[in-house]
Structures are given as C-alpha cells and as structure tokens.
Amino acid sequence: MDFNLNEEQLMIKDAARKFLAKECPSQFVRAMAEDEKGYTDQIWQGMAELGWMSLLIPEEYGGFGGNFLDLMTLIAEMGYAALPGPFFSSVVLGGLTVMEAGSEVQKKEILPGLATGERMLSLAWTETDGSYAPEAVRLTADREGEEYVLSGTKLFVPDAHVADILITVARTGGKPTDISLLLVEAKSPGLAIAPLVTMGGDKQFEVSFDRVKVPRTNLLGSNNGGWPVLQKILLMAAVAKSAEMMGGTERIMELVLPWTKERVQFGRPIGSFQAIQHHCADMVIYKDTLTYMVYQASWRMTAGLPFEKEASMCKAWVSDAYRKFVALGHQVLGGLGFMEEHDLGLYFKRAKAAELFFGDPDFHRELVARQMGL
C-alpha cells in the first residue's frame, strides 16, 4: 500500500498552488462571485497554457493523457484556492461524458477544442425535482424525422452562460431509465437560460427548452443508453467534487491554526485550552480520513478497478466530514470567522453546495446499502 502522491502529481500540485496563489487570491474569488460571468478570460487563458483543460484528455485528441488521480490533484488545488469558473462543468462534467459516451467522430470534433480551453461544455441533468434519480428526468426528446425535438426545463445547470454545448439529459422512452444524452448547441433557437442566485456565487442556471431541434447525429451514445453513462459520470463527478473539498481542508487549516497560537484569552493562547485542542484534533481526523477516501476512490478509477462502492463511500463521508470540519473551524475562529470579510465563509458556502451536488450523503449511503446487498 502507498498513500502518497507520486512525483508527477506533486509537481502538478506545486505548479497549481503557485499559479493560483498569484491569479486567484480571495479578493478575486469574492469579485467573481459578484461578477456576472464569474471568471476572467485572463485566468482561463493562464489555466489553458498550463495545460489544465487538456490534462485528462487522451493524446490522440490533443490532450496530455493524464489519469484521474492527476486530475484529482489539480482539482484539490482549485478547492484550496476556491477557484471560480467553468473548469468543473466543462472538463469534468463535459469532458468525461464525451470521453465516456462519444463516438470517434464526436470525440475528434469536441475534445481538441476542450483541451485548449476554446470550447466549453456543461451537463444539463437535474430538473425541478432537484433529484439525480432517473424518474426525475422529464425533459422530452421526441424524434421528428432526422431530428430530436427537446422540450422541458433543466435546473442547476452550471455555467450554462458560457458553455458552447450543453450535454442534455433527455427522456426518450417510457421506462424510468429510457434516457438519452444529446449534444445541444447552447445558441439553439428555443433554448433560454436564466441565472439562479446561489449562496456560493457560482453560476448556475435554469435552462428552458421550447421545441429545441437537435440533429440525430448529436446523440451521445445510444438511444435510451444514457443512464449507465450518467451513473458512472455521477460517481466520477462526486469523487472530483470530493477532491475539491479535500483541497479546502488544507487552506482552512492554514486559516485556523495560526489563530489558535496568536489569539490570547485568559492570559494564554487559546490553542493551549483542551477544548480548542480537541476541536483541532477532530479537524485533523476529518481531514485525514476524507483525504484517504478521495485517494482510494480516485486510485481505483485510475487503476481500472470497480469503484462504485468506494466512490459513494467517498462522497458520503467527505460531504459530512467536510461540513463538520468547517463547523469546527468556525467554532475555533469565533466571531471572526462569521464575518463576511473572513475567507472561511467562502469555504463554508462552497462546502454546502459541494455536499449537495452529485448526490448528498443520504443519496450515496443508499447506493452503499445496495452495494452491501441490503
């Protein structure tokens, strides 16, 4: 067994840490939460030049050919810096889905642009139920000649305002899992987006489809064959989201620990009080356990082993542990951390959103229960 990142991953981590320290200080994070677009072309360009968008994409499609663990390492740094922007929606949700389900032609068409950062994708899955269950997919894609005609509403679609293509999850049959994936040009007539105002300031949208016409050739994967793809993508996204949270723990420790040594009450640094020490010890327990849960699930994906159980265990554990970790950080920092100007709040808000995305702990515990044969 080996619980460490390898040399290459340490290099990825180090380079990302440096770049984001310069380009993504917390003032930037705050400004982007207010900004309509939510990121700048400059930072996106910088990320592209460092090869971030191409990291996971195979070499034959203009990518770097890295593995899932490499990507986790990078995403953890984005979590550390609370980086805003469409990387997750475009590269993780979009890129992985195309790589998983796309035909050779589609991959050749889409992935090279994704790798350079010129093309952006997002995944339009959840609807008004706010559920990841197949029954909750009601947006219809009816076949009319050589086209699919899409009607319905998607909710919580990340970064739809900048995506060129929305991979749209559509109902194409009567059985709950009769679901297909369609590549929909974001500028298609009949497609309208409206921003949702989110706690974390990340950009999510309601996307309505009013008889949006999509050529048959834009079917990603097979007709009614979308559900197994989504099940896999959900788990990969859940682990990637967990990696983002993992990165957050590193930053929060840096916010909390110095304070325990500097802040004096009753004539002693508060870190000398056992109540504070035990909170900090519990933070370490959460941090280390969640880190290894992310590593294990990512490693299994990278190694090509079955990962269903470990991925769901990861998302359930990390979501809960990270929330509790942040809460302990708040408790140690006292009123200071409750101030809007303190950075802990940025992570607090993201922690909740991350917990809810791609299946909350209850959702993943149920998947674990199924894996246990219950």
Partner: protein, 388 residues
C-alpha cells in the same frame, strides 16, 4: 499510490486465514472470548505457538529475532485477520514490549527475550496504571529501590488487564523520587510468580477480568531493567508510536453478522434491510469502517516508509474506538428490543454478541490512553499547539 495488498502479502494473508480456519477450535475461541482476546489462556497458547512458528506473530521483526522481515502493512493485516476471527489478538510481549526491547534493550536482554516472545512462549502484562496514575502516567509511584545486586519493589498497580494470564509484568516504576516525575521512571520485566506479588481480580462491565497487582518487597534482578535507568517514561511514550494499532476486525465481524441478520429478519411485514433508516445507518457504519481502514493502513505505510508516526497512532486509536462504539450503538438500534437479550436467552439474536459488545464498547474510548489524551497528543505533537 496503491490501495491493494502486494501479491506476496495477499498470499500470506490467505495462508493465515486458512491456518486459523483449520486450527482455531470452538473451545479455544470460547476461551479467547472469555479473556477479552488477551493472549495467555491455555488453549490460546497452544494455538498461538503453532501460529507463531510461521513468523506471523511478529512479521515485521527481522528473521534473527523470529520475524519475517515483512512490511508493517502485512503485520497490521494479520492482526486485523486475527481480531476478525476472534483468536487471541492482544499481545503485550509481541506487540508492545518486544519492539521496545529491540530498540533500547541490551544485547543480553534481546537474546533472552526476543525469540521466546516471537515464538509465543512468553506473555507479558502491561504494568502501567496506578490509582493515581491513569491518564497522568508520569505520576507512577510504585517504588523500585536499588539494593546493589537487585531492585526491591513496593507499591500498587490497578487496571492491569493481562496480569492473571501472563507470565511477566512489563512494569513502569519509580526509581528516582527526587527529580521531575517523568525523569525518575524506569521500565522492568518482573516475573509475576515472584514472592510478594498479589493479584486481585476486578470484574468489568463486559464480564472480563482486569486486576489490581500489589508489590510487597518484591525482588527483581538487575538484568531485568529495560534500557537505561530513569528513562522509562520516554521508552513508554516512544512505544506508543511503534507497532501500536487498533484493528477493527472484531467489530467488523459483528457488523457483518448484523448486516446478514437484517436481511433475514422480517419486521412489520418486510425484511429489516428494506427499512430506509436501517439502510442509512448500516451504510454509514460501513463507510466509517472504510475510513478507519484507511487510517489503519496509512499508519502501517508510514512505518514502511521508514518514518515514525507522529500524531497518526493517536488518531487511529481515537477513530477506531469511536467507530467501534458507533457501530455497536447502531447494531443495538437495529436489533431493537431483542438487542438487550443476553447469550443463553431464548430469543437472543446472534448469540448475544451484540449485547456483550455493547457492554464492552464502553471502555474503548478509555483504555490505552483515553481519547481525550489522544486528542491532546494530536494537537500538541501533530499541530504544534501550545501546551497549557
């Protein structure tokens, strides 16, 4: 990164499993359970001596001392396997005293003790706790006076769990009362059959025995001093970092039995396993066991990397024992009214294992350093927070 065992580790684990299945008799397992999985019972000794002949009792020790020179990962995995199957799995000599002897003992002491320990021929009992030295271990007062050719010992130990089944006491005693407390302690090996030693049973909520041990003018040979005089406290603290592990195997076994039980048990017209709350609770425990497994083997990996764990041994103890308590609580909740029935009762589920574990689990967060002490260590040593 790698989260699976190496092929050679898997192979040995398979052999260990097969050996246990073939050699662990119901009587031996019953005896093991009756003394809290401590090593020292008659049947357990017979079993472990055969087991140890394969080098499995101390796999990470070098071959010259009876080990296999194997990884800490394998050592940890074998311990977990032993705990899972309920064979004796708590060893003071092999897992606590032995490594300290190896690190600080004289050549003569190594020669005298390490091979017999590795073969399972002798067992020690921890002699740390005293009435006024619990979490504050530096407060040990059992006095050892240097009488020239021997030490003369007087005083009292308490909560010494192994001492009625072990051969020797792994004893922390006061050798200098005039210096700062932690600078005047020494470690000694004392024959528990020595004249002047009286062992009195203390019965726990779990029905298992721990002991008070009284020393009344007990003579201990000079050669039984471990390492240097007055360094005992430091040896004892350092020993907490080496080969200190809390396998969850025993609890995992019970959990598996409960998972199996809920699939077969119909309540309100449906299998208990179909109750969404039951599913959530059991899945949560499975997840915590998995997280605990990560901490367990990451500790081994630190040792295999040639590093000394810092706060991680304390973290693993705290997490494993609290998981054990939550696991037990969940199992009791799932069993409902039946959970309170004791072994032998007509309607008892799972032979009363869960009811017994419920009583035993109380001590998990207390023994071997309370979990509060573990968190102090994590904060002070791991995070560098200021001491009080």
């Amino acid at each position: 990164m790698e989260f699976e065992f190496k092929p050679e580790e898997t192979k040995i684990l398979g052999e260990v499993r097969a050996f246990i299945k073939a050699e662990a008799t119901p009587d031996m397992l019953e005896e093991s359970l009756s003394i809290g999985y401590c090593y020292g019972g008659k049947l357990g000794r017979e079993f472990i001596k055969k087991f140890a002949a394969n080098g499995w009792l101390v796999p990470s020790w070098p071959a010259q001392y009876g080990g296999l020179g194997a990884s800490a990962v394998l050592t940890f995995a074998i311990r977990d396997e032993m705990a899972y199957h309920g064979v004796p799995s708590i060893f003071v000599a092999a897992h606590m005293a032995g490594p300290t002897i190896m690190h600080v003992g004289s050549d003569e002491m190594k020669k005298e003790w390490l091979l017999p320990i590795a073969r399972g021929e002798v067992e020690f009992a921890l002699g740390y706790t005293e009435p006024q030295a619990g979490s504050d271990l530096s407060n040990v007062t059992l006095r050892a006076v240097d009488k020239g050719d021997h030490f003369l010992l007087n005083g009292q130990k308490t909560f010494n769990t192994h001492s009625h089944v072990a051969d020797y006491h792994w004893l922390a005693c006061r050798t200098d009362p005039d210096v700062k407390k932690h600078r005047g302690m020494s470690m000694m090996i004392v024959d528990l059959k020595s004249p002047g030693i009286t062992i009195r049973p203390m019965i726990t909520l779990a029905g298992w025995q721990t002991n008070e041990v009284y020393y009344d003018d007990v003579v201990v040979p000079k050669k039984n001093l471990v390492g240097e005089m007055n360094k005992g406290f430091y040896y004892l603290m350092a020993a907490l970092d080496f080969e200190r592990m809390f396998p969850a195997g025993g609890y995992r076994r019970i959990f598996e039995q409960v998972v199996d039980h809920v699939k077969k048990t119909v309540v309100n017209g449906q299998p208990l396993s179909k109750n969404p709350l039951v599913r959530q609770k059991l899945a949560q425990i499975a997840i915590e066991l998995e997280a605990g497994k990560m901490l367990y083997y990451s500790l081994a990996h630190i040792l295999d990397s040639g590093q000394i764990p810092n706060y991680q041994a304390s973290m693993q103890k705290a997490f494993a024992t609290e998981t054990a308590q939550r696991l037990t609580q969940t199992c009791m909740e799932v069993l409902g009214l039946h959970g309170q029935l004791k072994s032998g009762s007509k309607w008892v589920p799972l032979a009363g294992r869960v009811e017994h574990q419920h009583r035993w689990s109380v001590v998990e967060s207390i023994y071997a350093g309370t979990n509060e002490i573990q968190r102090n260590i994590m904060a002070l040593r791991g995070l560098g927070l200021p001491a009080a």
